[in-house]
Symmetry: C4
Subunit: 260 residues, 4 copies
């Protein structure tokens, strides 16, 4: 059991830096997180305040607060944190916020998002409670498995080959997503998420048993489209299971004959 995280304003901060979340640009992270989360709510990914999203812009990390209805979030609800300041903090569990919303508490997902930013240089990380993700972890649990594996589905091409590698997976490649066991406290997942990142250096996502999934990408576009592609594959996998179809198959590549 871990003591609760405390959130402090950075020492050299004389006000709440509200300008960090005020912009007319719809692509500004403080505007983008609410609009993305509203979209995710319609997809069933962030039901009942569950799940969330975080964006990193260079040194600054923008975070949704805890316990907010995700389709109703406002830019003024957003926390901002400096990665550099955080790195100099005495404790990994003490957060140093440049900007805090007046009424909310920090999200327990914060250290998990930070893991994606610091260990993988991600620009965005999304956490969903999608029930397709949860069902996949339950099916795998019955099989005693800690890995989701699927191949020979076109949508697999929606994933990058891995950290610092160029290009995307191919149709015949096997997409492998590790599953970590859920913990009583979400912050305590951080250690296991980081272990999974170490063991699966090319993965862009980690499933959490009976909980959901964390998906990241180099930028918002990549994190969001990888998260969509993965949810599509999870839904397909559950439906394949219901129809008795295997997730892994051995298919001979189809070779075109025409030459130009």
């Amino acid at each position: 059991m871990t003591p609760p995280t405390t959130g402090l304003l950075a020492e050299n901060t004389t006000d709440n830096n509200d300008h960090l979340v005020q912009s007319d640009d719809p692509e500004h992270p403080a505007n983008l997180i609410p609009s993305l989360c509203a979209k995710f709510w319609t997809l069933g990914w962030v039901t009942g305040t569950g799940g969330g999203a975080s964006i990193r812009d260079d040194d600054l990390v923008y975070l949704a607060p805890s316990g907010v209805q995700k389709e109703l979030m406002k830019p003024s609800d957003i926390y901002v944190l400096s990665l550099a300041a955080q790195a100099q903090s005495l404790s990994r569990r003490q957060r140093v916020y440049l900007r805090s919303p007046p009424v909310y508490k920090p999200s327990q997902c914060t250290p998990l998002f930070l893991a994606a930013f610091t260990k993988r240089n991600a620009g965005c990380c999304i956490h969903t409670h999608s029930h397709w993700a949860v069902l996949v972890t339950l099916i795998l649990e019955q099989q005693g498995s800690k890995e989701f594996r699927i191949n020979n589905i076109e949508q697999i091409k929606g994933f990058g080959k891995g950290f610092q590698k160029s290009g995307n997976l191919g149709y015949h490649d096997t997409l492998v997503i590790p599953v970590i066991e859920n913990t009583a406290h979400e912050e305590d997942l951080t250690e296991f998420l980081e272990e999974a990142m170490d063991k699966y250096p090319d993965t862009y996502a980690v499933l959490v048993r009976r909980h959901g999934v964390y998906v990241w990408g180099d930028n918002v576009h990549k994190a969001k489209t990888q998260c969509e592609s993965l949810d599509y594959l999870f839904q397909l996998a559950v439906e394949m299971k219901q129809l008795g179809l295997p997730w892994i198959t051995d298919i001979e590549p189809t070779i075109p004959t025409r030459k130009d």
Copy 2:
């Protein structure tokens, strides 16, 4: 069989008090009930005029009328009732409305909403006909059970520990929702709903067999997010049943090792 409820204006009311449902504030209960119900309609919770929602603001209770299309409701359709005046009424079944819409009849759900307000001091109560809720009651009926029980799913954390208790349920806790049998007349459910509240003092919801669910909370935010979390769990439970996965499991907690 019970005689139909009558609705009277309070004695000391000289007009229809339309000001009670007129406000520019989108958070005013008379505006919030229509916007919430429109959202619930898209979720399939209030199909075909079924289901509804009520908000309590101190002594005043705001109620949707009977038989209205929930996605088309207007603030002027809302009933307003005084809890104090109601308590002084000679009969539990006679309602004393401060404000009534011109064309509608009071909802048969009214005494059930009042039960949540008076017995649990709730600030909002939602009633859905979600078919996930109905399917759960049907599956339980086959098992001869009067309780929905599920544990070891992250979304369980979306529920408070109970009436006048602080904090939420944990991941390993078992969420228990009582099921009451449906009655021919919805008002007649009140007695059984109140019994279930007495028998399950910490529950925030009661399932009604072959009918739907009543969910409440200290305020609109908590009632709505608990209702969303519960519907998520009902859907997950039905899909788990289709895949042959049990709702209750015995899982050893995962303990983090890292110390900071």
Copy 3:
């Protein structure tokens, strides 16, 4: 095989009567049909130009044309027909339109909508291709059945007791919807729809095998909410079938004991 329907303008019509479909009132039938159909498209009821809706206002019948994308329909696409003029027509199969859109053809559903208006004095009739309706007819076909029957589900209360009867069905009542066999040409369904209306004088809907459902009501509100309630029940019935749960059960009524 039946010769195709012809559509003529009424003899005493000197222009196309475009004023009949021009109104600023969103509740005007020429505005309501497009807005309802756009909503039905999002529900999957009128996919790929299938399905439709018609409204009767006294003697005038407003009809969507054939082959139009239902979520894109405009008031100017609407046909208008006089019931009285139609009754005086020499042939049941020749339509006499007061107003026709410039580019479309009349819908093959027209005589089926007219059956609801003339035989049941309906104010609105909705035709959906909802796949829940189609699946129910397929399940019944396997059972050699020409009737959908379900009881002891709360949503059954969403239906009126029957033509010229007051009040709605009760929770313990059995809702019975006849199924007619599909014909190669939609107009040819009319005879069988009318037969089903004669045989089931209290029904507000007729299922068409492997095709969809026709639902009507005294007015738009009743037709739409009955159609929603029915689709809810069809979906529930399919899911009950997948879970091995019976549609008809023998349940002892639950009687309240409290007296006021």
Copy 4:
């Protein structure tokens, strides 16, 4: 394995011809492709940048780029290509664009869309990754089949009889959609798509195993409504499979008796 396609501006092009994608008309292809794709995104057809749509206006072909989030596409993202110029190109694999967006790459779907335009004179071609389409190909794979066949479902009437034939399929007709095997590179599908068009001269769609479907039509209206009808039938087919219902049945036509 095929060398990647190159995209060149046409020789006689002195600028990027941005006027080709600038119009106030919502029906202009450069406006229609984004609005259609946004709608398709909500249907789950173009998840995670998968799928797409192309429109032909006489000699000009409008194409969505590769890797764009389909619900966020803008007119300025659109490629424009001349069929005549393309036909004079030395290589089938070298595209000659009249107009290119500044930041994107051409879609790998381009030669497949061009096949529909050149071999079938289509006015619009849609490519979806709908998981209903993918599941149908997986079910057929288990049966060793390269054809989706379904009959006696009303929605089949949503398809034209075939290239240069007038009228639509009838209720009792069997809709046949060929399935081609997926290739590692989407461009390499072109040869097999064209073979399927030759072998099935009347089809308006080709399924791609474990990938999705290509659907076309003489114009946008027909391509879109045929694509909707097909997706409806794929969903129905998967649900029929789950319920143990056959896709092909032998049904005696129902003949009306009434004469007018």
